[in-house]
Symmetry: C2
Subunit: 259 residues, 2 copies
Amino acid sequence: MRYSTLDGGKRLRPFFVLQTSRLFNVAEEAAIRVAAAIEMVHCYSLVHDDLPAMDDDDLRRGRPTCHKAFDEATAILAGDALLTKSFEVVAGPNTHSDPQVRCELVRELALAAGGQGMVGGQMFDLRAAELDMDVQAVTRLQNLKTGRLIDFSCEAGAILGKAAWQLRQALKAYAHDLGLAFQIADDLLDVEGDPEKVGKGLRKDAEAGKATFVSLLGIERARAQAEMLSRQAAQHLDCFDDKADLLREAARFVVERSL
Amino acid sequence: MRYSTLDGGKRLRPFFVLQTSRLFNVAEEAAIRVAAAIEMVHCYSLVHDDLPAMDDDDLRRGRPTCHKAFDEATAILAGDALLTKSFEVVAGPNTHSDPQVRCELVRELALAAGGQGMVGGQMFDLRAAELDMDVQAVTRLQNLKTGRLIDFSCEAGAILGKAAWQLRQALKAYAHDLGLAFQIADDLLDVEGDPEKVGKGLRKDAEAGKATFVSLLGIERARAQAEMLSRQAAQHLDCFDDKADLLREAARFVVERSL
């Protein structure tokens, strides 16, 4: 569990929880607990996704994947325990004084991570190579597989801060555009990236015959689309003051890492 | 997910939730939601436990295991989604009007199912064949692997019903003795049972060189121990009236199925 969570990923989802929490002056311990829980969910999904029966990856963040460093059974159980732990942490009394807020966070996390969210997206992805996927289908797949958890990361600050409905919607819209830009950038990295720098195996989608934003749109249009979405994401933050500046920068960062 | 949950197991854990809920006049919908959630957790653990990297079982409840009926990736994801769904259901507003109760249920379920409960027990079990296990060690392993979730099933009624502390403790004590009796009976069935009737592969522990209550105590002493624990379990219910009669019968049932 430690090997696969404390190994220096980008911590993008925790960053969103902490930064959106700042907008509403949420207590730091609360934000950190939810941030840690979401990172546990993200890392469990990587551990299971890397298994031989799934993507069969040997390398993750520049190190052997969990089942390579230990064994398959340990990787399955470490993932299961991380997922379970995330709910223990979110439901804990120190996450928020109002249990209604904790329940809402548990529900939203479960909806984002479960069969009609992230895991549903992974299941969809397993069948993707057999399906005739257009841009809309790839968008839907990516929204499930990675978008829903990013949405929740950005909404978490608003839930913790009991934010007004429009502000919560603004963060959701930001997350939605940013998540898609992030995924297009990921597809660009998969084609153009340096495996040494990226720290994981690349060109797997093309080898598996999977449709991606890049295979469907071409490199130029995919990049233009990612840049447009990144600008649009930042615009959703216009209702916030300079406390949202790091979130604005993040919208640029997710695209620029693929330049 | 449906294949591995709606396939006619004994539903022992849901039975405990419903029967302990009756003692405190808990609303039926509340009890059923928690019962369903615990059964989802139990079934997810079986799906992952049956995987080739774990126990590598082909048969469960008289049918092909999930990864045999579908494939390994589907089984991993179905298990993940069931675990996630269980928390969504428990945290849902219809589970209890008091969100404090729902949060407590989420926490207790996560603690019972996670790395220091059921999953911790499965990890321990993977190493059991290499360890020099005595009766105490086997008791500890089984308490983690199956006991913690049975404890929670019996405590759930008391949590939902906001029961007095002593009554909750009585149900915990009942669950503890019954859970151990159940596991000893399981070990007896593994040695003496008819695979056709039991609906799963047998004699696997002996083949794997794992210590069990039967291998350590012998058949006669193991049976006597199970019967003693079963009687003791029923005695913990003396503080309840005839509403607890089915729970008293259950204590007998778990041992008698191995006679």
